[in-house]
């Protein structure tokens, strides 16, 4: 029943993504100053929000593990962290491609870009670090601490465009007090945000189930070893 529901939601998300693509590519006009490249924002912003959401879930999972000492929360945290990295990679790459056209350079060491890259590398380090520790409870404990210490980087990245005025544009969406984007173009970004955030939650539930199955396998392995 649970699997059927996930498939049903996945089909809904797929339809929404295709409808969004149609709207973004064929219905909405080019932006007056940026031309066609503005459309990258409709993936860049939803991916950033999805990555932020997943990193927040990783924080919740890590704190809950330290509180409850239940490995389910560790599995939740690592699954959310993997998704943070996937969506974070989309943010960094789409941002660089947009920058190449608008700024004429691929990268600038400004506050937003640097803090995003540092956070992304810290989450990558979290996953690498986990491979180095065999014992599950020690791995979960140390990983939870790393995840909690990494999360402030996400907040810094989110607020950096308000705290420091550097290369990256300030807020453009009306909801954040920005005015850099025509109101008629904003719904496309929000619809894509809905689609990608729900897609992220579907992937999270699948990844979490795999992580729990992996623990079951570890138990079977011990059983086989005893036989």
């Amino acid at each position: 029943m649970r699997e059927k529901l996930i498939y049903l939601i996945a089909v809904g998300v797929a339809i929404l993504l295709v409808a969004n693509l149609y709207n973004i590519l064929l219905v909405l006009p080019d932006e007056a100053n940026q031309g066609a490249i503005w459309r990258i924002f409709t993936f860049h912003f939803p991916s950033a929000m999805s990555a932020g959401l997943c990193s927040f879930l990783a924080l919740i999972g890590s704190m809950m593990y330290l509180w409850r000492r239940n490995l389910w929360w560790d599995a939740f945290a690592v699954s959310a962290t993997e998704l943070t990295l996937a969506f974070g990679a989309i943010v960094l790459i789409t941002g660089m491609i947009w920058a190449r056209i608008i700024w004429g350079i691929w990268w600038a060491w400004d506050a937003r870009l640097t803090s995003t890259l540092v956070s992304w590398l810290a989450y990558a380090a979290y996953l690498i670090f986990r491979k180095a520790i065999e014992e599950p409870t020690a791995r979960a404990r140390y990983s939870a601490v790393i995840s909690i210490l990494t999360f402030p980087g996400v907040i810094i990245s989110w607020k950096s465009i308000e705290w420091w005025r550097t290369q990256h544009p300030g807020p453009v969406l009306t909801i954040r007090g920005g005015g850099g984007m025509a109101p008629g173009m904003q719904p496309a970004a929000y619809w894509n945000l809905l689609a990608l955030a729900v897609f992220a939650m579907i992937l999270l539930s699948i990844r979490l189930r795999q992580e729990n199955s992996q623990r079951l396998i570890d138990g079977f392995r011990r059983q086989v070893h005893e036989i």
Binding site: D30, Q34, G35, A36, I37, R39, I40, F43, H44, S47, A86, A89, I90, I93, T94, I97, W98, R100, I101, F199, L203, I206, R207, Q210, S213, Q214, L216, I217, F220, R221, Q223, V224, I227
Partner: protein, 51 residues
């Protein structure tokens, strides 16, 4: 529409979709490995308990 502008927009969309597709493929392959390993171990446990 500026063609270079359009090309880079295409690169952006392609990169975003490619990352998502690669991640989904990784999940599917991991799922397959887990199923295989689970049935292998269950078989070993059944054989072990019969002996």
């Amino acid at each position: 529409m500026d063609s270079r502008n359009f090309t880079y927009m295409f690169y952006g969309f392609a990169a975003a979709w490619a990352i998502l597709v690669i991640y989904v493929i990784t999940l599917v392959s991991r799922e397959r490995k887990i199923h295989q390993e689970m049935s292998r171990l269950q078989k070993l446990i059944e054989e072990g308990s019969r002996k």
